[in-house]
Amino acid sequence: MNINIKDNFHKWFDFNQKKTLLKFLTCGSVDDGKSTLIGRLLHDTKQIYDDQLSSLQTDSKRHGTQGSKIDLALIVDGLQSEREQGITIDVAYRYFSTNRRKFIIADTPGHEQYTRNMVTGASTCDLSILLVDARKGLSEQTYRHSFISTLLGIKYLIVAINKMDLVDYKEEIFIKIKKNFLAFSKKLPKNINVFFIPVSALVGENIVFKNNLMPWYNGSTLLNILETITIENSTHLKEIRFPIQYVNRPNSNFRGYSGMLVSGTIYVGQPIKILPACINSHVSRIVTFDGDLIKAEIGQAITIVLRDEIDINRGDFFVNVDSFLKPSQEAIIDVVWMTNNVLLIGQSYNVKLSGKKIRVYIKEILFKIDINTLVQEKSDSLNLNGIGRIKVTFSEPVIFDTYNDNRMTGSMIFIDLITNITVGAGMIKYSLNNENQILSNNKTDFESDFHSLISKYFPHWNIPKLAIKKVSGQHE
C-alpha cells in the first residue's frame, strides 16, 4: 500500500504507525562489499539526502575506489580512521524505511579482530545478511559469522552472493556456493531458515531492483525478502517475566515496581510470585503516565503496584504463581570473550544480568570452539574473540532463564573488576540446580512455609534468605 502523505495525512500517519520493525545485521569478510550493499540499499530506496549525496561525490574522488563513479561504501564508513584504512571498525546503526516496514541495520565489521563488535550487533537483531564474494566462495568469516549469528539466537540468515558482475552472472557459481553453504549449515542449529540471493551491490542487481541480469534467478530481491519476511517472536517463554528495574516510591502512599514486561501478559487482579523471596501477592494496579492499564503486554514499560506491602528490590522478578523458576547459584554458560586479558579458570568477574549486578567465579571451561570447523576442543583459557562453554558459580542465588527461552533474562555481560570494561558476553545454557528447592537441605516443609510467612508479613525483620543446596553436574 502506498498512501501519499499530501493526500491524506491521517491515513498516512495511522498506516505509518503500524509498520513493523525489523532489526538486521550485515556481516561478511572485509572487501565482500558490506558497505557497498548498505549504501546501495539506502541509495536505491532514496534514503540519502541531496547534501549527503554531494558530499559523497566529493569524498568518492578523494577516498573512493570506484574511479570517477560514486563509491556508495563511503556513505557508511564515517570515521576518519576507517576512511584511511578503508575498513569498518565499529558497529554502526543505520535507519531506513519503506512503505512496508522500518529497518534498523547493525553494520558490523568484517575483520576477525572485531568479532566482539559483530556480537554486539547480533545481540539485538533477528536476521543476518551474510555476504559472500562470488569469486572467492565461502570463507572463514562466513563460517564464523553464521555460527555467531545462530549462537546469538538469530534464526534467519540471508546468504547474499555478491559481486556476481565479476563472474559474468554465472548460475553455476551461485549454485556451487549455495551447495557448499548447505553442506556447512548441517553443523548449525536445525531450526534456522536460510535464503540465497545472487546480487551485485555495485551494479545494484537484486538489491532493490531487478534488471534481469540473471534471468535464471526467479527469486525475490533482497529488499523484498526483508520487507515481507515474518519473524517469529524470539521469546519462547509464555510465562510472566517482569524483572524489577526501579522501585518508585515518591511518597509514603505509593510504592510501585517499574520495569519492562519481558514475557507473558499481566492483568489487574492477577496473582503473581515474587522471586527470589518466593512470596505470592496480587497485582492491584498497572500504572503508566497515560493512565492505569487493565492489562499489559510484552515490551511495555509499566509500574506495578501490589496488593501487599513487601520488600522488593531491583533485580527481583515477578513471575506467575505456578512458575517453576527458581533462583540458582550455578550455571553453564556460552561465552564470547572480548578482551586481550584471557579468561581463565578461577577468575572472578562482575556480571550484569537482568539489572542485577553480582560477582561470578569461573569454575570450569568445558570446551572452546574452533570457529572454522565448529569442533569442540578442551582448553583452560579463552582468548580475545574466543567462544566456549563454561561453568560458573554466582556469589548469591540469582534468577535467570536459558538464553534459548528468553534473550533478555538469559543473557549477561562480564565486567572486568579493575578496568570496568565489558569483557565478555554470556548466554545461559542451563542452570545447574534447577531441580533443587530454594528451601535448603534439612528444613522441614513446616519450617520452610513458616520462613516464607515471616518474610511476607514481617519484611522489616530482614530475615536472611534461605541457602540453596548445591548439586552440580546434573545436566551435563
Binding site: I5, K6, F9, F13, Q17, K18, K19, L21, Y49, D50, D51, V76, G78, L79, Q80, S81, I89, D90, A92, Y93, R94, Y95, K102, I104, D107, R116, T120, S123, T124, N233, S234, Q245, Y246, P250, F254, G256, S258, G259, M260, V287, T288, F289, D290, E297, I298, G299, Q300, A301, M338, K352, L353, G355, R407, S411, I413, I415, N420, I421, T422, A425
Partner: protein
C-alpha cells in the same frame, strides 16, 4: 525483542523509558542535558513517563553560550517552571570573561570553549556521573557509531576504538571516580519519529520550529535569523523579512533556518517526509572541516 507491542513509536518509547530507569538505578548523580530543542522536549517527556507518578529524579542542565534565541530562553524558563524540575544553567566562565563570540572567534573555537568546555566544567563542578543527551544516531555519521551508554574518561574524551561492547539491553555503567557516562535514550529514533511522537503526544516545543515571518540575513548561502544587535552587517548585506522555520536549533548565528510555510505539526511532518536535504545541513559547525563532529565528540562535545 518487543514485537508484540502496539506500534513502532510505542516500542521506541518503551525502550527509551527502559534506558531512563536503568540509568537511575545504575548511577548516583545523573543529569539531563537540556538544550531546549525538539529532542530535549521529547527526552523530558519520556523522563516524566519513566518516573510517573514520581517526579523526575534528576536536574536539567543547560549549557548556556549566551547566544541562544530569545524565544529559547523564554521557553526554557517556562518548561522549568511548569514541569517542576530543577534547572541548572551553566556558562563557561572563562569564555564569558574573554567575550568569545561566534562571529570573531569562528564557530569551531567558540563551540569548543562555550559548549564542550562549558559542559565539562559543569559535569566536574556538580560531580555528575551520568548525563542524558538527546543525540540520535540518524543525525550524523560519527553518531551512528555511538553507544547508548557512551563511556567518557576523566578528561571527558570519547574514544571510538575503546567503546564498550553493548550487548542486548545490558548496559555497563561501571565507572571510576571522575569518569562519566553519556547516555542517549533517543539513539534509535529518527528525525521523523521525533516529529511524529511530538504530534502524537502533543509535546510543547519552541515556536521557532514553526514557520513565521522573521528577520533574515543571507550569508554564505545560509539563512541567519537575526535575534539581537550583536552582528556586524557588511555594507552589501540586507536583513529581509522571510517566511522561515528551523529544523534544528542551536546558537542563533550558527544555525540556519529553512524557507518554509509549515506552521503546524502536520505540515512539518509532511515537509520532513518530502525534504531532500539532511537535518544538520543547517548546522555550521558540522561543516567547518571533514569529520568535524567526530573530532568534537572525541574532545567531549555531546
Amino acid at each position: 525483542m518487543f514485537k508484540k507491542n502496539t506500534t513502532y513509536l510505542r516500542q521506541l518509547e518503551s525502550e527509551s523509558i527502559y534506558i531512563f530507569r536503568e540509568v537511575i538505578a545504575d548511577f548516583q548523580n545523573p543529569v539531563m542535558l537540556y538544550s531546549i530543542g525538539k529532542d530535549s522536549s521529547v527526552m523530558l517527556h519520556l523522563a516524566k513517563k519513566s518516573f510517573y507518578p514520581g517526579r523526575i529524579p534528576f536536574p536539567l542542565l543547560h549549557i548556556d553560550t549566551g547566544w541562544k534565541f530569545k524565544e529559547m530562553y523564554i521557553f526554557r524558563d517556562y518548561i522549568a517552571n511548569t514541569s517542576k524540575v530543577e534547572l541548572i544553567v551553566h556558562s563557561n566562565s572563562k569564555g564569558k570573561l574573554l567575550g568569545l563570540n561566534p562571529f570573531q572567534s569562528g564557530g569551531s573555537k567558540y563551540t569548543d570553549i562555550m559548549k564542550t568546555e562549558g559542559l565539562k566544567e559543569a559535569i566536574n563542578k556538580y560531580n555528575f556521573d551520568a548525563a542524558f543527551g538527546g543525540a540520535r544516531r540518524d543525525e550524523e555519521k560519527s553518531r551512528s557509531k555511538e553507544r547508548i551508554y557512551s563511556f567518557r574518561d576523566s578528561f571527558h574524551q570519547w574514544d571510538p576504538k575503546k567503546q564498550r561492547p553493548e550487548l542486548w539491553w545490558n548496559y555497563n555503567g561501571e565507572i571510576n571516580k571522575g569518569e562519566n557516562i553519556r547516555v542517549f535514550p533517543l539513539s534509535n529514533w529518527t528525525e521523523l519519529d521525533v516529529w511524529q511522537y511530538i504530534f502524537l503526544e502533543k509535546i510543547e516545543i519552541v515556536p521557532l520550529y514553526f514557520a513565521a515571518m522573521r528577520p533574515v540575513l543571507e550569508r554564505d548561502g545560509a539563512l541567519i535569523v537575526i535575534d539581537d544587535t550583536r552582528i556586524n552587517i557588511n555594507s552589501n548585506e540586507v536583513i529581509k523579512k522571510r517566511m522561515v522555520r528551523f529544523r534544528t536549533l542551536g546558537c542563533w548565528p550558527l544555525t540556519s533556518a529553512i524557507e518554509s510555510e509549515a506552521n503546524n505539526l502536520e505540515d512539518i511532518i509532511k515537509e520532513t517526509v518530502t525534504v531532500t536535504t539532511s537535518e544538520r545541513t543547517g548546522r555550521a559547525i558540522d561543516h567547518d572541516q571533514k569529520s568535524s563532529m567526530e573530532l568534537k565528540k572525541r574532545q567531549g562535545y555531546f
